[in-house]
C-alpha cells in the first residue's frame, strides 16, 4: 500500500506534515542542547510518530493515564527525542523542558522511563524488550476486553534480537489483533547498513510466516502512513506489522543515510543548518 490516497483530505495530511516538521526541529534542537543523543533514528520515524500522536492515537494529554487510551511503546528507545518532541508539542510537557534532555534530574532521561513523564507507557532503551512489553499490554487489553490498540515502533537493526521473534510468535499465538508493530526500515544500525551487519530480509515474509498481517509503506509519505495505521486498527484476528521504508536522518541533508549520525550531536553550525532545512520543508 503506497502512494497518495485520493480519499484523504488534503488539510489533514498537510497539517500532519507540519507537525512532523515541528517534531524534527525539536529533535535537532534538543540533541544539540544536550550535546548527546540520537538524531538519525529519531528523524527517520518523525512522520510515523507525528501521524500517531496528532491523528491516530486515542489519547488525552490532560488525562495521561486515561482508561482505554491507546498505548505507544517506543521499542527503539534510543529514538526518544522523537517521542519527547511529540509529547511536548501535543501538550504533555512544556516545549522548553525539551532542552533538559539527558541532564541530571530531568524527566527526559537518555532513554524513556515510564514513571518519570506522563504519556510514556513503557520504559525502554534495551533493544528487543519494548516489543515484549507491548505484547503484555495487548494481552492485558484482550483479557479485560478493553478495545484500545497497542502500537510499538521497532528499529530494523533491533530485529536482530532473538527476543523480537519470541514476541512475534506469542502475539500470533494469542491472536493479538490489537497490536501493531511498526518497523522503521531505514537500513542503518550502529555499525553500518542493516543489510550488511545482519541480513534480515525478507522481513515481510518472516512476519507473514509468524502469522502476522503485513503492510508495506513508504515511511515518509504521510497519506500512506495514515492509511496504513487506520487499516491496522481494524481487527483481523492477527497482529499487524507495518514495514515503513524510511531514510535515517530524514529531513537534514547531511544526516541522511549516514551511519555516523546514528548517535551524534550537531554543532551550533550544524544545528542552524539543519533547522533551516527543516523549516524549508525538505521533510
Amino acid at each position: 500500500m503506497t502512494g497518495n490516497n485520493p480519499e484523504m483530505p488534503v488539510g489533514r495530511i498537510a497539517s500532519l506534515e507540519a507537525h512532523a516538521r515541528d517534531i524534527r526541529r525539536e529533535i535537532v534542537s534538543m540533541v544539540h542542547a544536550a550535546q548527546s543523543g540520537h538524531c538519525g533514528g529519531s528523524l527517520s520515524s518523525a512522520d510515523i510518530v507525528a501521524a500517531l500522536y496528532f491523528d491516530i492515537l486515542n489519547i488525552d494529554p490532560a488525562r495521561p493515564r486515561m482508561a482505554g487510551r491507546d498505548r505507544f511503546v517506543l521499542s527503539k528507545g534510543h529514538a526518544c527525542p522523537v517521542l519527547y518532541a511529540a509529547l511536548a508539542l501535543r501538550g504533555y510537557l512544556p516545549v522548553e523542558e525539551l532542552s533538559t534532555l539527558r541532564r541530571n534530574s530531568s524527566r527526559l532521561q537518555g532513554h524513556p522511563v515510564a514513571p518519570y513523564l506522563p504519556g510514556i507507557d513503557a520504559t525502554t532503551g534495551s533493544l528487543g524488550m519494548g516489543f515484549g512489553q507491548a505484547v503484555g499490554m495487548a494481552l492485558e487489553a484482550k483479557m479485560t476486553g478493553a478495545g484500545h490498540t497497542v502500537y510499538t515502533l521497532l528499529g530494523d537493526g533491533e530485529l536482530d534480537e532473538g527476543l523480537v521473534w519470541e514476541a512475534a510468535a506469542s502475539a500470533a499465538k494469542f491472536k493479538l489483533d490489537n497490536l501493531v508493530a511498526i518497523i522503521d526500515r531505514n537500513n542503518l544500525q550502529n555499525d553500518g547498513y542493516a543489510d550488511d551487519i545482519m541480513p534480515m530480509e525478507p522481513i515481510d515474509r518472516k512476519f507473514e510466516a509468524f502469522n502476522w498481517r503485513v503492510i508495506k509503506i513508504e515511511g515518509h509519505d504521510m497519506s500512506a502512513i495514515v492509511t496504513a495505521l487506520e487499516s491496522a486498527r481494524t481487527r483481523s484476528g492477527k497482529p499487524t506489522c507495518i514495514i515503513a521504508h524510511t531514510v535515517k536522518g530524514k529531513g537534514v541533508s547531511f544526516m541522511e543515510d549516514r551511519r555516523e549520525w546514528h548517535g551524534k550531536a550537531p554543532s551550533d553550525e550544524e544545528k542552524a543548518k539543519a533547522c533551516a532545512e527543516i523549516a524549508g520543508g525538505r521533510s
Binding site: A34, S36, G77, R102, R103, N104, S105, S106, L108, Q109, G110, H111, V113, T123, T124, G125, S126, L127, G128, G157, E158, D160, E161, G162, Q189, N190, D191, I197, M198, R259
Partner: protein
C-alpha cells in the same frame, strides 16, 4: 592532585591494544554485537576481517556463539556494553563459558555510571556482582591507559574466562607506561597511614582526588587500587589495614554484592576488625546526566569519599580509646 588528562578512554586503549596484539597473536578472534564503533572493535575488524564476527544486535546469541568457538579451542574476545554483556548474556557466560572454563575474554564498556549520560538502561552498575559471583571468572578493572593495556595482555594470557570492565570517557593517567600489573595484584596509587581507600577503575581517580582533599586537613589517606577485583590482593589489603586500621571501599557500582561486600566478608573471616564504610549506589538506580554531577548526586564524588574516610577515622579513634 596533578594527574595528566587521558587522551583516550580505556575502551579505546583496549581496542588499540587488541589491534596491535592481533598481528603477533594470530589465534584469537573477536565477536561484536553492532556497537563496534563504540567499543572501537571495528579497528580490529577492518584490519582482520576474517577474524571479526559482527553478530548484529544479539548479545545472548553472540555469547553462545563465542562459547561454541572457544569450545573448539580458539581464544575468543567478546566486546560490548556492560549492561548487555553482564545481564542479557549472563546465562551463556555462566553455564557455557565459566562452567566449562573456556577462554572467552569479555571487554565490557560503559562500566558504572561512566555512561551516565545515556541513562540507567546503559549503566552497568551490577556487573561486578554478576561476573564476580561466577566460579572461575577473573574480573579486572583498569583505571588508565597503562593498566588497560596490561589488562588486555593479562586477559589474553590467562587460562579461562576473564571479564574486563572499561569506561566510556577518558579520565586521567595514573601509572607510567610499563608499570607491572598481574592477576591477583594491586597497585599502591597513593601511600598514607590514616585510612585505606580501596577502589577500582574510575573510582581510583575519584579516591585520589578525595585523598588530596583530606591532605588539606592533615589526613593521610592510602589509595589501594584493587584493579584485580577477583581475585583480589589479600596480602596487600592485610598489610595496608595493619598500618591504617580503617577501610573505605569506593566503587562505581551498587554497594551490594560488589567489592565492598567481598572485602567486608574477607575482614570478618580473617579477624581483621576495622571501621568500614562503602561508597557506591545505595540500593538505588542512578539517572542520566553528566558523569561528575551524577557521582555527586549519588554520593560517589571525591568529597563524599573524603567524608566517609573522616567518619571511619573518627570511629577508629573512639574504638581505640
Amino acid at each position: 592532585m596533578t594527574l595528566a588528562p587521558a587522551s583516550k578512554p580505556t575502551r579505546r586503549v583496549i581496542a588499540d591494544r587488541m589491534l596491535e596484539a592481533g598481528a603477533a597473536n594470530t589465534d584469537f578472534v573477536v565477536f561484536e554485537s553492532d556497537i563496534g564503533y563504540s567499543t572501537y572493535s571495528y579497528l580490529f575488524g577492518d584490519a582482520y576481517p576474517a577474524r571479526y564476527f559482527n553478530m548484529g544486535i544479539a548479545e545472548l546469541g553472540t555469547m553462545a556463539a563465542a562459547a561454541g568457538m572457544a569450545a573448539e579451542g580458539r581464544p575468543v574476545v567478546v566486546c560490548g556494553y556492560g549492561v548487555f554483556l553482564s545481564m542479557r548474556a549472563l546465562e551463556a557466560v555462566r553455564s557455557f563459558v565459566c562452567y566449562p572454563r573456556l577462554n572467552v575474554k569479555i571487554f565490557s564498556s560503559h562500566g558504572g555510571v561512566t555512561a551516565a549520560i545515556d541513562g540507567v538502561t546503559h549503566q552497568a552498575t551490577e556487573d561486578i556482582a554478576f561476573m564476580g559471583t561466577l566460579p572461575g571468572m577473573t574480573v579486572l578493572v583498569p583505571c588508565d591507559s597503562a593498566s588497560a593495556t596490561a589488562a588486555f595482555d593479562l586477559a589474553l594470557g590467562a587460562d579461562g574466562p576473564v571479564f574486563v570492565r572499561l569506561m566510556r570517557d577518558p579520565l586521567f593517567e595514573v601509572y607510567p607506561a610499563g608499570t607491572g600489573f598481574r592477576i591477583g595484584g594491586s597497585a599502591m596509587a597513593r601511600k598514607g597511614r590514616h585510612v585505606t581507600i580501596a577502589a577500582y577503575g574510575d573510582m581510583v581517580i575519584q579516591s585520589l582526588e578525595a585523598a588530596a582533599l583530606l591532605e588539606t586537613d592533615g589526613v593521610e589517606a592510602e589509595v589501594l587500587d584493587l584493579y584485580s577485583v577477583k581475585p583480589f590482593d589479600e596480602a596487600a589489603l592485610r598489610e595496608s589495614l595493619s598500618r591504617t586500621g580503617a577501610l573505605v571501599v569506593a566503587e562505581n557500582h551498587q554497594v551490594r554484592n560488589g567489592l565492598g561486600y567481598a572485602l567486608a566478608s574477607w575482614c570478618m573471616r580473617n579477624g581483621v576488625h576495622v571501621p568500614f564504610a562503602q561508597i557506591g549506589l545505595q540500593d538505588t538506580f542512578a539517572e542520566s546526566g553528566s558523569y561528575p554531577l551524577t557521582l555527586e548526586k549519588f554520593g560517589m564524588d571525591p568529597s563524599s569519599i573524603a567524608a566517609a574516610a573522616r567518619a571511619v577515622i573518627g570511629r577508629k579513634k573512639r574504638s581505640e580509646q
